[in-house]
């Protein structure tokens, strides 16, 4: 039976029409595969995110003093103007990028997730998610500078800058990191399924 769309009623969904055992199995497999991949490659991925965010920060810093690294599940923030003996701040890394697992699970919902076109779109989504992680880390570092270094923060960041950086990262923490995989999946998953309502 061919589906008949209703005007303005529904959006294309890259979804099976029923959530049956096969869909549940694909989701579980997608979650497990994403989790395994994430656990194995997290250290290397964190170094890549730190490198990207470091480049981004150097674009907005004058002078460029920040160096970012990653080790032990943390992003390490270093500045050339920090006193040599002072401890370097560490930011928890997993909170920033665990949503990769959400992305793999969502792409696994669609039928034939490993078909070449869909798999390519998944990696495109993962690349875009990397960009989001880079921007989020840059916001997190600037939020750290703007709000958590006491008098130094107040001397170097005005109220608008403090709200911009801290608000931007807080948005990512509360809503963005959960919405990003969903939005990427929605935007990039093919619409092979008939519209609901047919």
């Amino acid at each position: 039976m061919r589906p008949k769309g209703r005007k303005g009623a529904a959006l294309p969904l890259a979804l099976p029409r029923r959530f049956d055992a096969r869909v549940a199995l694909r989701m579980a497999a997608g979650f497990a595969a994403g989790l395994a991949f994430w656990l194995v490659f997290a250290p290397a991925y964190e170094r890549a995110v730190a490198a990207g965010a470091g480049v981004l920060l150097r674009l907005v810093e004058h002078p460029s003093v920040t160096t970012l690294g990653a080790s032990g599940g943390e992003f390490r923030v270093d500045r050339s103007d920090f006193p040599p003996a002072s401890p370097r701040p560490g930011l928890p890394a997993a909170d920033l990028h665990f949503n990769f697992v959400l992305l793999t699970t969502l792409f696994a919902i669609s039928p034939h997730p490993l078909a070449p076109g869909r798999f390519a779109r998944f990696w495109l989504a993962a690349l875009l998610l990397y960009g989001i992680h880079v921007v989020a880390l840059a916001f997190q570092v600037e939020a750290l500078y703007a709000t958590r270094l006491g008098p130094w923060s107040e001397a170097h960041y005005g109220a608008v800058a403090r709200n911009l950086w801290a608000g931007g990262f807080h948005f990512y923490q509360v809503a963005g990191r959960f919405a990003a995989p969903f939005a990427l999946w929605w935007a990039l998953s093919a619409p092979p399924m008939p519209e609901p309502g047919s």
Partner: protein
């Protein structure tokens, strides 16, 4: 003529899909701005989170965990946890509400979806809080990964699935609305 109409028909779902995403992101930012605003946070989000802590405390005590609750914190002799934004279900509710309101559907179905979805998300969130407390008290080595990866992913996935179920249901014709039988 035919190919033009086919092209327009093909473009239309894509355009609706893009519009959905634009509305979704705009609503998400707007709702975030509301809940992040200090007066709303203090008057609504914090009391709501404290209520989650109280109910979770009741459930945990019923399960024999002997906890006490103060504000948004749950404590026992073995473990203590503070429920913060990100663990109160608000993040999943924001996502769900934004998606439902962004999706083109009749308002009665939207309202039914919002009510049912919010209740389902909060019910799952109680399971999250209670199970995380249990893991923290009895399997502390597993707490961090359970908290960050497993439960955050599970709650957000649940909200996405609830939305997809609802979206599928909201597009369905009501019983008796088959055009073949329409007057």
């Amino acid at each position: 003529m035919r190919s033009a109409s086919v092209a327009a028909g093909a473009a239309s779902p894509r355009r609706r899909s893009v519009l959905f995403l634009v509305r979704f992101v705009a609503l998400l930012v707007a709702f975030y701005a509301v809940v992040a605003w200090n007066p709303v946070n203090d008057a609504v989000v914090v009391p709501f989170t404290a209520a989650i802590a109280r109910v979770s405390g009741v459930i945990l005590n019923a399960l024999g965990e002997h906890v006490s609750v103060a504000g948004t914190a749950i404590r026992s002799d073995r473990f203590a946890v503070e429920i913060e934004n990100g663990c109160n279900g608000v993040e999943a509710a924001l996502l769900f509400v934004s998606a439902v309101l962004a999706f083109p559907a009749p308002w009665p179905r939207r309202l039914a979806g919002l009510a049912a979805g919010f209740l389902a998300i909060q019910a799952l969130n109680f399971v999250r809080v209670v199970s995380l407390f249990w893991v923290g008290a009895h399997r502390p080595a597993l707490f961090s990964s359970s908290h960050t990866v497993v439960w955050q992913s599970a709650v957000v996935l649940a909200s996405v699935l609830l939305f997809l179920f609802w979206a599928s249901w909201s597009g369905r014709k009501p019983a008796g609305a088959d055009p073949k039988h329409a007057a």
